[in-house]
């Protein structure tokens, strides 16, 4: 792997966000809007509900953590789309860049987006609702890492699907992460899910992360078991996602679709 080629992939996106005001704005816009809108809804619901303790912590914590997964996925998929829209994929794929280097570069972009989004949402939650995500303590780090890794796995598979089905599939970049939302039990515990979806949720790493988050907020201690399950599943899914992408890429080479993608 070449550090300079990975840097080149990152630099290309960095220049893009520096040059394009709407794109730079988008990085801040959605996290800000999400936290303001859902934060005030939460405050209102808390006033009307008496039976649910730590309502704000549950809801805002979940919102901030879910955004991490979503931004991690977007950092991969949208960066790929940017190259597709710019008809730049051919230039990239005829360069000495390896697939592993391209993915590593996109992962760097994704990390940057996650950090910005996390900082914005945490600051706003503290400012408007006196909620600090850091109350989750040291466990916050493994929770975040798991969500980021799941976001990468989903992002890489989505990128593969766009490569396979072309520009028509680009809507997946915004839709696929939400497919996992109901079974991730972001805003409610897994126990409220019907039995069949409970089984599905077991295989979704984010469901363990959110269960772990709720356990922490309720003061049930470090959610070791949930984190181990999430790490195990994420490791399998990340490897699988890379394998799937490589298979789709090789198939694209055979079908000769790479030069036409984005047209």
């Amino acid at each position: 792997m070449s550090g300079r080629r990975i840097w080149a992939v990152f630099l290309r996106q960095l220049y893009l966000y520096r040059r394009s005001f709407p794109r730079a704005l988008e990085v801040f816009y959605w996290p800000t809007l999400d936290i303001l809108l859902w934060g005030f809804v939460t405050l209102y619901l808390q006033k009307s509900t008496t039976g649910l303790p730590k309502f704000v912590a549950f809801f805002l914590g979940a919102l901030i953590l879910w955004d991490i997964l979503f931004r991690a996925q977007q950092g991969i998929t949208v960066s790929f789309l940017e190259d597709m829209w710019a008809r730049n994929l051919v230039n990239i794929f005829v360069s000495p860049l390896r697939i592993s280097e391209y993915l590593s570069g996109l992962i760097m972009v994704s990390l940057l987006k996650v950090i910005i989004s996390f900082v914005v949402m945490s600051a706003l939650a503290g400012m408007f609702y006196s909620f600090s995500i850091f109350r989750l303590g040291m466990a916050l780090l493994p929770l975040v890492v798991n969500l980021v890794v799941m976001g990468w796995a989903v992002g890489i598979v989505t990128m593969g699907l766009i490569l396979r089905f072309g520009q028509e599939a680009e809507v997946l970049a915004w839709a696929v992460a939400f497919l996992f939302m109901p079974v991730s039990a972001v805003f409610y515990p897994v126990e409220v899910l019907p039995p069949m979806l409970k089984k599905v949720a077991f295989f979704v790493p984010s469901s363990h992360v959110f269960e772990g988050m709720r356990a922490l907020i309720e003061g049930k201690g470090f959610p070791l078991l949930e984190l181990v399950k999430a790490f195990g599943l994420n490791t399998v899914y990340l490897v699988l996602s890379v394998v799937i992408f490589i298979l789709i890429y090789r198939d694209a080479l055979k079908r000769g679709v790479l030069p036409k993608i984005g047209e």
Partner: protein, 239 residues
């Protein structure tokens, strides 16, 4: 040893056969023009050599190494430009070139970017976003990107399409100068047969995925008893 050796290259897309056993060689410092009507397989051939399309059959050797096994190593010393592709619109001329200087791991990237900008008259446009460039200026940027890594093999797909006559002539002169000065080998396609005649040392005539004629322009003209490549084009196609 030839710089590029293509042997029995065949590419089938479903029921369409794009290349039917194409074989040829390209020597160091040679400019090979590939000509043929639309759908002849010119672009597929270039894409196969770049590793963008996997051939159904056949073998491609670049710098004496098989492309399939030494892709990264080979592509480090190769580059490509086409009038059918572009570069990211939001990035400036200089930023685009910097990205590719790093992608090809060029030594002293800033200096090299300045050099290629000078080579293609882009210095005054260095801080202009690519979206504000004219078609001709964009093509110059694409060509500058293609020269960023001092390629030993340059693949050009209709590089002068969309360029005004002055820049097109300048590009042709530059190609010849690069070949003479640095021994770069060029494989390029063009529909401009006069240009092909002027620049190419040798011509490869493709039709329906087959090589119909190959050789130095003068020799081909003499053999077929014609005065220009345009006449040869119609004669070979039987029109």
């Amino acid at each position: 040893m030839p710089l590029l050796k293509v042997e029995g290259l065949k590419k089938v897309f479903g029921k369409t056969v794009a290349l039917r056993g194409v074989s040829f060689c390209l020597k160091r410092g040679e400019i090979l023009g590939v000509l043929g009507p639309n759908g002849a397989g010119k672009t597929t051939l270039i894409h196969c050599i770049l590793g963008l399309i996997e051939p159904t059959e056949g073998r491609i050797e670049v710098f004496g190494k098989e492309l399939r096994c030494h892709r990264t190593e080979i592509l480090q010393r190769v580059n490509f430009a086409s009038s059918y592709i572009s570069l990211p619109y939001s990035l400036t001329v200089r930023e685009n070139l910097m990205v590719y200087a790093h992608l090809y791991e060029v030594d002293s990237p800033q200096r090299r970017v300045e050099e290629v900008m000078q080579m293609f008259d882009l210095l005054s446009l260095r801080d202009i976003p690519a979206r504000r460039l004219s078609t001709g200026q964009m093509m110059r940027l694409v060509l500058a990107k293609a020269m960023i890594n001092h390629p030993e093999l340059l693949l050009l797909d209709e590089p002068t399409a969309g360029l005004d006559p002055e820049i097109a002539a300048k590009t042709r002169r530059l190609l010849c100068r690069l070949r003479n000065d640095s021994g770069i080998s060029v494989l390029y396609t063009s529909h401009n047969l006069k240009e092909m005649e002027e620049v190419s040392d040798r011509v490869l005539f493709l039709h329906e995925g087959r090589v119909l004629a190959e050789g130095p322009s003068e020799e081909l003209l003499r053999t077929h008893g014609v005065e220009s490549l345009e006449e040869l084009f119609f004669k070979v196609l039987g029109r």
